[in-house]
Amino acid sequence: MTARRPVRWDTLRLAAVFALVGLPLAAVLSHTGRDSDGLWSHLAATVLPGYVYNTIGLALGVAVLTLLFGVGTAWAVTLCRFPGDRLLRWALLLPLAVPPYLSAYAYTDLLQFSGPVQSTLRELTGWQRGGYWFPDVRTLAGAIVILAFALFPYVYLAARAAFLEQSVCVLEVARTLGHDPWSSFFRVALPLARPAIFAGLALVSMETLAEFGAVEYCAVDTFATGIYRTFNLPDPHALTAAAQLSALLLLPIALLIGCERLAQRSARSHPTSVRHRELPSWRLHGVKAALATLLCLVPIALGFAVPTMVFLIETWRGGDRRAAELFLTLGRNSLLLGSLAAGLAVALALLVAVSRRNSPTRFHRVLSRLVGVGYAVPGVVIAIGVLAPLIWLDSQLDHWSQVLTGVGTGLFLSGSIVAVLYAYQVRFLSLALNLVRAAFGRVHTRVDDAARTLGATASRTLREVHLPMIRGSVAAGAALVFAETIKELPATLMLRPFDFDTLAVRVYHLASDERLSEASAGALALIVVGIIPVVLLAKIIDRSRPGQHADPREPTS
């Protein structure tokens, strides 16, 4: 391509965002060779094998369960017709609204010895304590089940998108070649959808590796909880050792990113037929219909309805006596962090997307993709990575301020919400970026050309043409980041300023103290916020069925 004039500025801007996002990861990696005065070798000898075992076990267990339920439900609601299938189609996304740590709290409350389920059982059967076996939530198996029903929608989404994209003709050919629906599913549909499902599984695994709250509550020692615990050790080398653990965790994550990218690439298969008629719908009756409904209802119930009901009932029965006064402060803090993070993320995403649009070279494309890589990195790792450079910067600031003005600045950055906001950007920028980039992609470059030949500068074009055209996606991006920020636990826990609690942090503390009824109102609020991205996702998916979006324009509503 030709060299356009603003190339240098675009490159600088992109590189700046890239440096910002990459710095924490570089900081984590830079600790690998550092001396931790025996702390690391101690950890490696004592707890590391357990971390590895639990993390692998958790990831595998969650992968198997999400695969079964994700693909099964996607197949049912996409290609079969049974009572309620339309409603179930988006209701299957609802579990995404409940952060796994809230599920863990709810199930522990529900299934513990003194909980309603066991009490009722004992009353009905007359069993005595210790005289019967009952599943324990706070085990590896419990964590697996909780995470699986919180995360299966990722696989469901990927599988459903893949099934929707498949040409009807391919499936019909399979039928004419003598395969019944069941066998054409396994012989044709599933192999075709495999790359997409694999990409969904990779996402699930990333989330599993990143999960902190639920796993910690279930008392399962994984890398994420181990890093957190090491970080909190009263040891001068705690940060270094935590960073070294983090660096180790980055290995499987890099592997997962690679797998996901590869899978995504081959998921963009080349359809041999471009006909996208209304998908075939096998109408189910009687027992089959009931089974299909049940298959979909079970994960929705386990992943969404049951935890929500638990919190509803708890709130109804007692709730937090100090709820009203605390709620105001906590809500304000959460809102503040959420809106600031969302605004920043959208601004950065626009910066990246515009630079990338103005300079359509391979270099800029790759750089703008790398900027979003933080979505795969666990919050605990990002927190460690953000803290190290900020502490260094603070010490420099403090030093020079002492020298110049005689007054120190203290922990100006690392002890303020700057640190938390920074971590949120690293982790959630890709959410805003993906939406903004996709929206920009739908605006034809000729519109830019028209604006420029009509006398508009690049910035006026962005302001008066691009932004009004993509505002729906910008708002969606902001809402996604907002919701994720409000729910985020580990990074907020580790980086928030002293005495600065958010809803999520408060709920975590109350739950840790077994004061669940007091936490329930906050938990409900978090679930309500979590429904925002679910609704957005459902809307985005509705628009993306091939052949069904006749109007490529950005909706103005």
Partner: protein, 350 residues
Amino acid sequence: MTSLELHNVSHRFGAAEVLREVSLQVSRGEVHCLLGPSGSGKSTLLRLVAGLETLQQGRIDIDSTEVAGAHHHLPPEQRRVGFVFQDYALFPHLDVRRNVLFGMPPGPSHQRNQAVIDLLERVEMVRFAGAMPHTLSGGEQQRVALARALARRPQVMLLDEPFSGLDRSLRRAVRSNTLAVLKEAGVATLMVTHDPREARLVADRLSVLHGGEILQSGPPLDLYHRPSSLPVAELFGPINRVSGIVKGRSVEVPWGVVDARDETEGAAVVVLLRPEWIWLDDADGFRAEPAAEIAGITADGPLVRVTVRCADGTLLSLADVPRHAWTVGQSVVVRTIDDPPVIRSDSDRP
């Protein structure tokens, strides 16, 4: 008077050369058509003039002022150039009035609004001022795009296949309106099209672009009657090719001789004959003219296409009004205009 001048403009995308040493001038009030197949570099040329693409080699002047040269690139927003895109590229989030207002130079708002109304009046779109672009038909969108491009009072207007998105029935009306508006505005217009008929209809001058080079430039009739190469000749319809050798001032052909024009003695040439430049007489058997015979007759609308085989086997195709007396196998005498275009044999390969 010359408003747009291109001097030796060359351009490449990576290894591919899309324009080679292109020069042309467009005067105020003149419509200059760039005619060529897709991929011939037409659109790149427009984008270079608009400043949407950075010039690599050559020079572009607008109103005798350099806008792009060796060390100089005026950004598009600072050139007074109007651009009507193939798909019109109306801003989908703005209504018709605000689309046109977008390009209006700053000034008191009542003046700008009045200017918008005036422009919409000129393209007969005032009653759609509040309409959103997606509610308009193709022809209506085209007129809004034209009004919008005129809002900056451009010195040069660039049209990229402006009528190709329209129905055939609509095209003629929109075309004549557009041209009337452009003439009235007195701008220099450079229009890109791949349709030779359209180019001949609207152009004051036209340039044939082929593989990044201008093959021939001139008024449409000149290019039709005096093509300098076979690709140019074939653009405007079927043409007969008859090989011959220049002898003296003429070329010997199976039915007699034609003027050799400026070709030199002994040169191998090709005589080009459009079907309507040939007609037939009955052979009466007494004249010494070489006879030919009718090899085929096909009806083609109001005319017939007649294929004639000359004595030496050369086949000629001609169009004529049908005559009942004609039958296949009949002997006839071939007559043509005296001075058809004559090109060198080696120039018939592009």
